[in-house]
């Protein structure tokens, strides 16, 4: 039978944190922030296709 959680990767386990001095961030949040920064960088760097002749 299916459990209540339809998940392939369970994120309910023990959280992992990065802790240096007073700075503390969860791995999950860090991944989100890094992905956002990567998206921003890629959005600017990647060439945009020119679909049609400019008028």
């Amino acid at each position: 039978m299916f459990g209540l959680l339809l998940s392939v990767f369970s994120l309910d386990g023990r959280p992992r944190y990065i802790h240096t001095g007073w700075f503390l961030i969860s791995v999950a949040n860090l991944v989100v922030v890094l992905v956002m920064l990567a998206l921003f960088a890629l959005a600017i760097a990647l060439p945009f296709p020119h679909g049609g002749k400019d008028e």
Partner: protein, 207 residues
């Protein structure tokens, strides 16, 4: 058609103002300036799309009530869609904000576009916050009992009681989404009205 006495009606006046501000070609254009040619420009519509997913998944959860998802696989799935839609909504919105900041997109009488966007960001935070409060799980208990101190310290907590579930549920489902949609609607119409901001001048030339 102007009525026989030729006095413009309220409706006529509103239509006139709307048509002047947003004629059809501006409201639903099929051309755009040649400088709109970067992937950074898609993050606005991605944010809107994520908002759409959040609203629809929220509506599905509302169909069966706030306790449904704790005991239903389908309900839990839609709760997950609602959560990840919210994460994507904020991620896309912040990247959109970064892009618009570095383009100084408030130039050329576009300050209100920036303002409506920034206020929408802040109101979205409040909306997500009330969402966490209405989950009916440990998260709701902890977030509510912690957030109350900050809100009480600023005087807001006396009126906006984060421990009052009924109040928070209605703010989350009715009041705040209405305000968010109003702000984002205004924001999008302002972009249509003013057009996408042109490039900053390069060299010594001033705009």
């Amino acid at each position: 058609m102007i009525p026989p006495d030729r006095t413009p009606t309220w409706t006529g006046r509103v239509r006139g103002v709307a048509e002047a501000a947003l004629p059809p070609e501006r409201l639903l254009p099929d051309t755009q300036p040649a400088y709109v040619a970067s992937w950074i420009y898609v993050f606005g519509v991605l944010t809107l799309a994520a908002l759409f997913v959040v609203l629809v998944s929220g509506a599905v959860i509302a169909l069966a009530g706030p306790a449904w998802w704790h005991g239903s696989t389908v309900g839990h799935f839609f709760n997950s869609v609602h959560l990840w839609g919210t994460e994507l909504f904020f991620a896309f919105m912040v990247v959109h904000l970064w892009g618009k900041f570095f383009m100084a997109a408030w130039r050329g009488r576009r300050a209100m576009t920036w303002i409506t966007g920034a206020v929408a960001f802040l109101v979205s935070i409040a909306t997500a916050f009330t969402g966490y409060l209405t989950q009916q799980n440990f998260d709701s208990q902890w977030i509510g009992t912690q957030a109350k101190d900050g809100l009480n310290a600023s005087g807001v907590g006396a009126f906006f009681n984060v421990l009052n579930y009924g109040q928070m549920l209605l703010w989350h489902v009715v009041l705040l989404p209405f305000v968010v949609c109003l702000l984002i609607g205004g924001h999008v119409l302002l972009v249509r009205r003013r057009g996408v901001v042109p490039p900053l001048p390069i060299g010594d030339e001033k705009p």
